[in-house]
């Protein structure tokens, strides 16, 4: 640290007249080094964890615990401290300069970063499909940051390699793959969905890996209108084109209609295209709907299609004996995407991709056999070098964040959390139905509760275009007001021709009934004057 703050030494460095990068015969490097003042003292002395560094990291941790952990989870504190981008830029003093800053200045910057960041672990943060603070997972993520390694070889990440394997196995057990399978953790569920598409393509025509798509028949994949947008992004990135994603209609609960899937498959066939993959969703983003996986699996079997289940959001229900029926048939899937960083509250990111194949398909599809990393003459079993299963090179050991919290809580406690979240969602739905001015879009199947708030001035307008037009503007204004007061955060969106509505997502086991009551009261307070 002393080393970094001694900027005078830069001058010395630049003054060095080095004839070439590397010394000629007879020129001792020591001669140059003598000129390098304090900054290079470390060259000869070495730098263990210095006192000042240790003091700084302790002080930083104190700030983090006080402000980003304790205050951030305190219901009496604000969820967010809204500033306009222009103001916030000023407050943060973003510019990066030549000179460095003192540790106390850096600690102040940490405090500012916390102050103006959204407190996603606050009990009144309901804005995304993640929320809450899971202390064990957070500790695991701190360890990962301190240990700082990349998950590609056993050599450099022995502990995390084994833990990833253990977590994947346990997740596969819950899916119901009695004979096991394969898998990997990815930077997000979108990546997992893309892996499914790539594996399906590789299984069908392995030589696409070398010769590309040009001579292959046009390949088509199927997803429901409620499926996550990453399937479309996958089609763009992987060279299929978004038009080769055929969108299957849903019923009024947001579930894929199997008959409609059958029709779309026939349509693709009749056009001369080759159906490749069906993406079924277990827990859609907006409504939390579950596609009928069992029936879809029948169709996939009939047509020999790859069945992928995007259970990023809904996978957690597999831990609950009361709710796992939602995913009935998932064991028939060829692959599953499941993000423990959502409902199960592992720290971001924690996204598993699971494949039923046990014959090395994942490795064969993605491998490049880099000889500098995956040497075959190593002294241990190189099947533990799992990195070539990924399309990434450096990869974070995300599984550990799930492993440690699972060890701490056990499956039983994880199950309780899922059960509680779903019970909370049902409670909220009941309240919405009870209260004047609130209208439920549909009964929740999972933890998503979608509803409109109708301000008093609009309550006498009959259902129809005028009401929809006016209602459409309500949620954005209420959202703006809640963010500016910092009292809570909830998402809103349109859907088809439906005007803007709120989507509450209940995950956080620290949320109480009181918090849910507060949300409905607060929406009314913030929106009652709207007309």
């Amino acid at each position: 640290m002393v080393l970094e703050h001694n900027h005078d030494s830069t001058k010395d460095l630049n003054l060095m007249a080095l004839p070439s990068l590397f010394p000629c015969e007879g020129q001792s490097p020591e001669t140059d080094l003598r000129n390098l003042s304090k900054f290079c003292q470390a060259v000869t002395d070495g730098l263990p964890l210095e006192e000042s560094a240790e003091r700084f990291i302790h002080e930083a941790m104190e700030v983090i615990i006080d402000e980003a952990v304790k205050k951030a989870t305190d219901v009496k504190e604000k969820v967010c401290e809204w500033q306009s981008p222009e103001q916030l830029k000023e407050l943060l003093d973003l510019e990066l300069k030549d000179g460095g800053e003192s540790d106390s200045k850096i600690l102040q910057r940490c405090k500012n970063a916390i102050r103006y960041s959204v407190k996603t672990s606050h009990p009144r943060f309901f804005n995304q499909l993640f929320a809450g603070m899971e202390p064990y997972s957070m500790v695991a993520s701190f360890i990962i940051e301190a240990v700082k390694t990349s998950l590609y070889t056993y050599e450099v990440a022995p502990v995390f390699t084994l833990m990833e394997d253990a977590v994947l196995k346990k997740m596969m057990e819950l899916i119901g793959w009695d004979e096991g399978g394969d898998g990997i953790f990815n930077p997000g569920g979108s990546m997992s969905n893309m892996y499914a598409v790539n594996l399906a393509r590789y299984r069908l025509c392995p030589n696409i890996k070398e010769v590309g798509l040009y001579d292959a028949p046009r390949l088509v994949m199927f997803t429901s209108q409620e499926g996550h947008y990453s399937i479309s992004k996958a089609a763009g990135l992987l060279g299929f084109g978004t038009k080769n994603v055929y969108v299957v209609p849903c019923d009024n609960r947001g579930k894929m209609i199997p008959l409609a899937l059958e029709e779309k498959i026939q349509l693709a066939r009749s056009e001369g295209a080759v159906p490749l993959l069906v993406n079924a969703t277990a827990g859609t983003t907006v409504f939390g709907a579950f596609d009928p996986v069992d029936k879809i699996a029948d169709i996939c079997e009939l047509h020999s299609l790859w069945l992928h289940v995007d259970a990023c959001w809904g996978g957690a229900a597999l831990l609950s004996s009361a709710h796992k029926h939602l995913l009935k048939g998932i064991h028939r899937a060829d692959s599953v995407a499941w993000n423990p960083h959502k409902m199960l509250m592992a720290s971001l990111q924690c996204s598993a991709f699971l494949v039923r194949d046990k014959m090395g398909l994942l490795q064969r599809c993605h491998s490049a056999k880099a000889s500098y990393l995956f040497q075959q003459d190593k002294f241990y079993d190189v099947s533990y070098d799992t990195g070539d299963k990924s399309v990434q090179c450096s990869r974070k050991p995300d599984a550990f964040k799930f492993w440690l919290m699972w060890k701490a809580l056990g499956s039983t406690e994880l199950e309780r959390r899922v059960d509680k979240a779903l019970a909370m969602a049902r409670y909220l739905a009941q309240e919405v139905k009870k209260r004047e001015g609130f209208r439920l879009l549909m009964e929740p199947e999972y933890a998503n509760v979608c509803f409109w708030y109708v301000p008093p001035a609009l309550r006498d307008i009959p259902d129809g275009p005028e009401l929809w037009r006016k209602l459409h503007t309500v949620a954005p204004v209420v959202k703006e007001r809640m963010m500016k007061t910092g009292s809570m955060m909830i998402g809103y969106q349109t859907h088809g021709d439906k005007p803007n509505f709120f989507r509450m997502v209940v995950i956080n086991p620290q949320v109480s009934k009181e918090d849910l009551d507060f949300v409905l009261n607060e929406i009314h307070n913030l929106g009652k004057d709207l007309r």
């Binding site: 700084f56 202390p135 056993y154 979108s190 010769v211 590309g212 019970a423 049902r426 409670y427």
Partner: protein
């Protein structure tokens, strides 16, 4: 948050799980206690011992015995805090100390405490970088850091994003080049396009090939351009290969140049490659994941002369700059919003257009990811703490270290360079005494190939240090040591050479 309110009267009519809805399931006091205790272990075992030259770099265990030690199985019931703290200690003990001064195994290593604080803070705040709404501070910081990195490249304007690793950045470059030339590919796929070719050197990173397969081009579409003795792409050969592809009816799309190849640390001659790209209208991408950091150094940035002529650049500050894994920037010269147009899906549940702030700050649709980690804070905080000048010093110091190491190797017998280092990679063979002077023997190469793996095995089993080895083309196994951590001293490099001799002399 203690919540002591009474269960409401309707609690009885609801299902049993609802009865405890007033009771939080998470005990934050307990969690914070655990956090405090675990943090002590992190400081003692990972940060203090993990950077102490007198401690081991690794505590080798065979996978089977390590699996037993770690008791990996996940069960129905949870465990006590004491048990969990022991688990934290085990993880620290059996993990590789990548910040140790004798860890030379990868292109990351060392520790920067400001960046580490930024990483802890990022983890505690646990958010996603897709909208200003949910990550206001980080949207602005990412924008600022990207701007500062672009300035070092030499662009006054442009675009960019942080990716989960340099491989992803390289794939983004391919996808953008393809979309720029044939926008219809996004909707219609590759079937609507002519055959395309990508050019890179054999020393380029394997992600170019992985990317070509993943994006549907096929790995055969990567055409290998010859390199000179120093592993640098030969522009004349590139020109010829492009002409050849054209004559075969193939459309040349992109050249992926490398600034700092993985093994040798070579820098392709960007300026001359840019001339060829201009001539043929190709997208010039520079994979500077490893070498990009020389741009901080007035003395060494000449290695990347011509970088400002690139269309896109990958640069991983998690490597030489010690920002912490992962910190990978993808930088673009484009000012027409190409990145967003290429990747966007306009999800209406996330990127609502009727928000009350400027929705251009919702940068998430530029990515092919949905949730995306905050990788900018750690770099920004470190950069604020040491300044550009401090980062420049780190780079310059690494070069000085390499010079010292080379000088010492020259003084000793048995160390033979594979090529003259251009950067901070030093590639060499260690020739044990029994093999010296036997270059002419028929089995020399075979015997030499076995040296590095055995030395590596011995160093890991003793835990004294870690350094990588590899073959390259038809060149037999050699060591690659990368020297860049500011915590390394002359003593550590002397130790490195002594240790290779000690472990390998008897072979």
């Amino acid at each position: 948050m203690a919540n002591t309110s009474e269960i409401s009267s309707d609690g009885g009519t609801l299902d049993p799980a609802l009865r405890d809805l007033t009771q939080p399931l998470i005990d934050h006091a307990e969690g914070q206690l655990f956090l405090n205790e675990a943090f002590k272990i992190i400081v003692e075992e990972v940060l203090r011992k993990g950077t102490d030259a007198k401690e081991k770099v690794c505590e080798w265990r065979e996978p089977d015995s390590l699996a037993l030690l770690l008791d990996l199985q996940l069960r129905d019931t949870g465990e006590s805090q004491d048990r969990l703290l022991q688990r934290v200690r085990d993880v620290a003990k059996y993990s590789i100390k990548t910040s140790h001064p004798h860890f030379f195994n990868q292109q990351f290593g060392g520790v920067d405490y400001h960046s580490l604080a930024g990483r802890f803070l990022t983890e505690a705040l646990n958010t996603n970088l897709f909208t200003y709404e949910v990550a206001p501070v980080f949207v602005l910081i990412e924008t600022e850091v990207l701007k500062a990195l672009r300035q070092l490249v030499g662009w006054t304007d442009g675009d960019g994003i942080f990716c989960p690793g340099g491989s992803t950045s390289n794939m983004y470059a391919m996808n953008l080049a393809r979309y720029k030339l044939f926008p219809e590919v996004k909707t219609k796929g590759l079937w609507a396009l002519p055959r395309l070719a990508i050019f890179s050197s054999p020393g380029s990173h394997y992600s170019v090939k992985k990317g070509a397969s993943y994006l549907g081009f096929g790995s055969d579409s990567v055409i290998s351009v010859k390199v000179d003795d120093g592993g640098r792409m030969i522009p004349e050969d590139l020109d010829e290969k492009i002409e050849l592809a054209k004559s075969q009816g193939i459309v040349p799309l992109l050249v992926s140049c490398t600034s700092g190849t993985t093994v040798l640390g070579s820098f392709d001659p960007l300026d001359r490659i840019a001339d060829v790209c201009d001539k043929h209208q190709l997208w010039m991408h520079v994979d500077a994941a490893w070498g990009g950091s020389v741009l901080f150094s007035k003395q060494h940035r000449h290695l990347m002369k011509g970088i400002e002529r690139a269309k896109s650049v990958s640069w991983n500050p998690h490597k030489m700059l010690l920002a912490g894994l992962q910190c990978s920037a993808f930088l673009l010269q484009d000012t027409t919003n190409l990145l967003k147009r290429c990747h966007c899906a306009n999800a209406s549940y996330l990127f609502q257009q009727d928000k009350f702030y400027d929705v251009n700050l919702d940068i998430g649709d530029k990515s092919v990811q949905c949730s995306r980690k905050v990788d900018c804070l750690k770099l920004w905080l470190m950069w604020k703490a040491v300044g550009s000048a401090g980062l420049e010093q780190r780079v310059d110091k690494a070069f000085i270290h390499v010079r010292y190491l080379l000088e010492q190797m020259k003084k000793r017998d048995g160390f033979q360079l594979v090529s003259t280092p251009e950067f901070v990679n030093v590639c060499f063979w260690f020739i044990p005494p029994s093999l010296r002077g036997q270059e002419g023997n028929a089995d020399y190469q075979d015997r030499l190939a076995k040296v590095a793996p055995v030395i590596k095995e011995r160093m890991m089993k003793e835990g004294t240090m870690m350094v990588g080895y590899q073959p390259l083309g038809d060149i037999q196994n050699f060591f690659r040591v990368t020297v860049f951590s500011p915590h390394i001293s002359h003593k550590d490099m002397d130790f490195f050479l002594d240790e290779i001799e000690r472990l390998g002399n008897c072979l």
